[in-house]
C-alpha cells in the first residue's frame, strides 16, 4: 500500500455510492467506521446535490470492535428501512469494515425485509471506484431485471426503444449527456425506455429488458451490465461512445443497424458547428498544437480522436488511470505513435507533462492543477472533477451539441491566431514583456520562465549572451520548444556553447 495525497479514483464503495446516489428509492447501508462518512461531501459539495446521498453508515468506533459489530449492522439496516422506506437496498462493507468480516449480505437476509436487499462484494484492496460502480450497477440489474411479459413486449413494438446505461452521480457531464442522447433518440424516432442508473427506480431497472437495445454511454460503468443483459435477454448494445462528430455519426449508424430507423435526415442536417469552426480560418493556428491527454479510458479515447482528426492537433502523449482498459489505451497510443502512460500516480503524470512541454493539456482536475503550475493551458475532459466542472449551463460532451461544447472549451485556454502575433509584435511592451505571464493563464508580470529542458544534463551546455538575446526575441509560447530543440541539436553535435548561429542552425534543422 502506498500513501498518497490525492487519487484519481476512490475505493470501490465510493463507486457503489455513485450508483445509489444516482438512483431513486434505493438505500445503501455501508458497514464503515466513523471516518468514512466524509464521502457524502463529494456529492453534496462538489456536485452541489441538494440532498444527502441515500447512504447509512454503521459508523462503528474502535471500542465497538471487541463487541458485536454484526448486531450494530443489523440495527442500522432495520433503522434505515424504517426511516427511508426504500424500494430496494444495497448492503456492503467499506475497506476498513471488510477486515472484520461481518458478512453484510447474510446478516441482512436474516432480517427478512419485504424489499430486495442486494449484497455487494467489492474487494477494496484490489479494485477501485469505477469498478465498484460497474459491479454495483451489475448486481442491482441482475437482482431486479425481469423477463418482460408479452403485453409489455407488444406495446413496445410500435416504435423501437432503447435504454441509456451508465450515467451516475459525480460523473463528468453525465446529466447533460443523458439529455443530449435522449434528444437524439427522439430525433431518430426511438423511445427511451429506461435511463439507468441516473434517476432510475428499482421498478425502472425491472423494465430494462423490455427495450430493443442498450446504449452503453460509459463503458467503465455499463459494459459489464450490458454484456449480461445481452446474454440473459438477447439485447444488443452499442459499442461507440458518441463523443465527437465522427463518433456521433458512427454511433447513429450503429443504432440504424440495430433498429433499421432512417437516420438520413438527422445526419444530413449537419447539426454540429465543430467541422465548420475547425475549418474556418481562425482555426488554422490550431494546426499541430501539441496536446497531452489523460483521464478515464472513455474520455481519453474520444479526446484523442477528436484532437487528431477534428482539431488537427498533434497528440504528443496520452494515458489513463483506468487499468481495466490499459490494453486498449496502449493500442490507441501506438496508433498515434506515442507511448501510453498507465498510472494512478499523479506525480508520474506531472513528470510526463513537464518532459513533453505540450501547449494544451486535456485531463482531470489533477491535470488542471499540474498545467496551471507549469503555465500551460488546460481543459478538463474527464472525472474526477471539481465543483466548477458541474456547470450551471447545458454543457454535454456527447452528440452534436457535445461536439460544439468541446470545440469551445478546448480552444478557450489557447490563444487566438491574431493574439499570438500581437504578443510577438509587442514583446518589448511592459504588458507583453518576455517575463510576463500569458494573460490567459492568469496574468501578472514576472511569472514563470519557460521550464528548462529536463532530459539530459543541461549543465554542460552554455548559452552565450547573444543566443540568450535571440531566444528572448522568440515569442514565449514557442520559446520553451526553441530552447529544447537547440539544446538537443547542440548535444547531438557536441557543441558546448550555444550561439545565435547554433539557434538558427537548429531552427533550420528541425523546421517549425
Amino acid at each position: 500500500m502506498k500513501l498518497t495525497l490525492w487519487t484519481y479514483e476512490g475505493p470501490p464503495h465510493v463507486g457503489a455510492m455513485r450508483i445509489a446516489t444516482a438512483m431513486k428509492d434505493v438505500h445503501y447501508v455501508l458497514h464503515a467506521p466513523q471516518g468514512d462518512t466524509y464521502a457524502d461531501l463529494l456529492f453534496t459539495m462538489i456536485e452541489r446535490r441538494d440532498e444527502r446521498p441515500p447512504v447509512t453508515y454503521t459508523t462503528f468506533q474502535a471500542r465497538d470492535l471487541g463487541a458485536d459489530t454484526a448486531q450494530l449492522f443489523q440495527d442500522a439496516v432495520k433503522d434505515a428501512y424504517e426511516r427511508f422506506k426504500p424500494k430496494a437496498m444495497i448492503v456492503g462493507a467499506s475497506c476498513t469494515a471488510e477486515l472484520i468480516q461481518d458478512d453484510p449480505g447474510g446478516l441482512s437476509e436474516a432480517l427478512n425485509l419485504p424489499i430486495p436487499v442486494i449484497p455487494l462484494e467489492l474487494p477494496s484492496y484490489q479494485r477501485k471506484e469505477n469498478w465498484g460502480a460497474s459491479e454495483t450497477f451489475y448486481f442491482i440489474t441482475r437482482a431486479l431485471a425481469q423477463l418482460p411479459d408479452e403485453a409489455a413486449t407488444a406495446a413496445q413494438k410500435l416504435r423501437p426503444s432503447c435504454n441509456l446505461l451508465g450515467a451516475t452521480a459525480l460523473g463528468f457531464r453525465h446529466r447533460d449527456d443523458v439529455h443530449e442522447l435522449t434528444g437524439l433518440m427522439h430525433q431518430l424516432g426511438i423511445d427511451v425506455n429506461v435511463i439507468a442508473p441516473w434517476e432510475a427506480t428499482p421498478d425502472d431497472i425491472a423494465r430494462i429488458p423490455v427495450a430493443d437495445f442498450n446504449v452503453v454511454m460509459y463503458p467503465e460503468i455499463a459494459d459489464t451490465t450490458a454484456r449480461w443483459l445481452k446474454r440473459q435477454f438477447g439485447q444488443p448494445f452499442t459499442q461507440t461512445v458518441p463523443i465527437g462528430v465522427a463518433a456521433t455519426k458512427a454511433f447513429i449508424n450503429e443504432v440504424v443497424e440495430i433498429t433499421g430507423v432512417d437516420a438520413s435526415q438527422v445526419l444530413a442536417s449537419g447539426v454540429s458547428r465543430l467541422p465548420w469552426y475547425s475549418r474556418s480560418i481562425d482555426s488554422t493556428y490550431l494546426t499541430g498544437k501539441r496536446v497531452f491527454i489523460f483521464g478515464d479510458a472513455t474520455h481519453v479515447f474520444s479526446a484523442a480522436r477528436i484532437a487528431h482528426e477534428e482539431m488537427a492537433f498533434e497528440v504528443v502523449g496520452l494515458g489513463t488511470y483506468s487499468r481495466e482498459f490499459a490494453r486498449d489505451v496502449r493500442a490507441l497510443a501506438r496508433d498515434l505513435g506515442v507511448e501510453a502512460l498507465i498510472t494512478d500516480d499523479y506525480l508520474d503524470v506531472e513528470e510526463r507533462i513537464q518532459a513533453l512541454q505540450p501547449e494544451l493539456v486535456l485531463g482531470t482536475q489533477m491535470e488542471r492543477h499540474i498545467a496551471k503550475r507549469l503555465g500551460i493551458g488546460c481543459t478538463v475532459i474527464s472525472s474526477p472533477v471539481h465543483v466548477q466542472d458541474f456547470p450551471a449551463s447545458y454543457s454535454p460532451q456527447m452528440g452534436f451539441e457535445g461536439a460544439n461544447t468541446i470545440f469551445d472549451s478546448w480552444v478557450h485556454p489557447l490563444m487566438m491566431g491574431l493574439e499570438e502575433h500581437l504578443l510577438g509584435m509587442f514583446s518589448e511592451d511592459f504588458e507583453f514583456g518576455n517575463t510576463a505571464r500569458p494573460s490567459h493563464l492568469g496574468g501578472g508580470a514576472n511569472g514563470h520562465e519557460e521550464a528548462p529542458a529536463v532530459d539530459g544534463d543541461s549543465d554542460e551546455l552554455q548559452w552565450s549572451a547573444d543566443a540568450e538575446k535571440t531566444l528572448s526575441r522568440i515569442p514565449f509560447f514557442v520559446r520553451g520548444k526553441a530552447r529544447r530543440n537547440t539544446e538537443t541539436y547542440a548535444r547531438e553535435r557536441g557543441i558546448q556553447t550555444i550561439t545565435s548561429e547554433t539557434l538558427y542552425d537548429a531552427k533550420a534543422h528541425f523546421g517549425r
Binding site: S280, I281, T284, T287, G288, A312, S500, A508, G511
Partner: protein, 258 residues
C-alpha cells in the same frame, strides 16, 4: 529628423526586432557600419538623412515615405524585397554593391544564412511545389510573395492581384516573375472571384473578408494580413514564410469528420 550628407545605409520598413537584429549583424559582417533602421526600435532616435543616404526598402507599400526621403536627397537602391533566400541575397547584394564590397567576401558572409534558408525551404518544396496559387489584392506584398513562391518553392501562379502596382519600387521583382504571369491591379472583386473559381487554385491568398466564405465553398485560403504580422523577411524566416502557405493545406488534409 537630423540631416547628414555622410554615406549611410537606411533600411526602410517596419521589421520585427528579431529580423532587424539579423540584418544588423549581416551588414556589420559585410563591413557596412553606418546602418540605420526606419522606424527604429526607439521612436526618439530618428536617423540622419541627406545626400549620402542610400536606402533599401524592406516593405513594398512605402510610396509616401520614399518620396519624403528622396526630397531630403536620399537615393533608393534598386532591389527585390528581402523575402526568401534569393530575395534576401539580392537585397543584401544591392547594398554590398553600393559599398563596393568584394564579391567573395559577400559570399562568405551570406553563405551560412543562405544554406539554412535553402535547407528550411527544401521540406516545403515537397508539399507546395506544383501547387497553384491565386492572389487577391490586399497587402501589396503580393508581387514579392508570388516571386518567392514561384522561384523558391516552385508553385504555379494563376493570377497575382495587387491593390497598387508601384512599377518603380517593384523593379527588382517584376523581371523575376514568369513572362506569362497574369498581373492585375485594383479589380472588380466579383469578376475576380469568378476567375478564381475558374482557375480552381490549390490555395487562395486573400483578405479576411473573403477567406471564410471561400473556405466554406471548399477553397483553401491563406489570409494575407498574417503575412504582414509574421516576421517573414531574411534568411532565418524563409521557412516560416513557406509554413504560412503550407499550414492551411496541411490542415485541410488532416481534418476528418467521418
Amino acid at each position: 529628423m537630423p540631416s547628414s550628407d555622410d554615406k549611410r545605409l537606411l533600411v526602410v520598413g517596419a521589421l520585427a526586432d528579431v529580423v532587424e537584429d539579423q540584418f544588423r549583424q549581416l551588414f556589420a559582417d559585410l563591413g557596412i557600419d553606418t546602418v540605420d533602421f526606419l522606424p527604429g526600435q526607439e521612436s526618439r532616435n530618428l536617423p540622419p538623412v541627406g545626400a549620402g543616404t542610400r536606402y533599401l526598402l524592406a516593405q513594398p507599400f512605402l510610396t509616401e515615405t520614399a518620396m519624403a526621403l528622396e526630397e531630403r536627397g536620399a537615393k533608393r537602391l534598386s532591389a527585390p524585397f528581402p523575402i526568401g533566400e534569393q530575395g534576401t541575397t539580392a537585397w543584401l547584394r544591392a547594398a554590398a554593391s553600393a559599398w563596393d564590397i568584394n564579391a567573395r567576401h559577400f559570399d562568405q558572409v551570406t553563405a551560412a544564412g543562405r544554406a539554412r534558408a535553402r535547407q528550411s525551404l527544401e521540406r516545403y518544396r515537397e508539399s507546395l511545389g506544383g501547387r497553384r496559387v491565386f492572389f487577391f489584392p490586399d497587402s501589396q506584398l503580393e508581387v514579392p510573395l508570388a516571386r518567392f513562391l514561384h522561384d523558391e518553392l516552385h508553385m504555379e501562379l494563376t493570377e497575382v492581384g495587387t491593390p497598387y502596382l508601384h512599377r518603380e519600387h517593384l523593379d527588382g521583382e517584376l523581371p523575376r516573375l514568369p513572362r506569362d504571369v497574369v498581373l492585375s491591379e485594383g479589380q472588380d472583386v466579383e469578376r475576380q472571384i469568378d476567375r478564381c473559381f475558374d482557375a480552381s487554385p490549390d490555395i487562395v491568398v486573400c483578405g479576411l473578408g473573403l477567406a471564410n466564405p471561400f473556405e466554406a465553398q471548399g477553397m483553401t485560403t491563406k489570409w494575407s494580413i498574417e503575412l504582414l504580422f509574421t516576421p517573414i523577411q531574411g534568411y532565418e524566416q524563409a521557412g516560416d514564410c513557406a509554413e504560412l502557405f503550407a499550414r492551411p493545406i496541411r490542415r485541410r488534409e488532416a481534418l476528418s469528420f467521418q
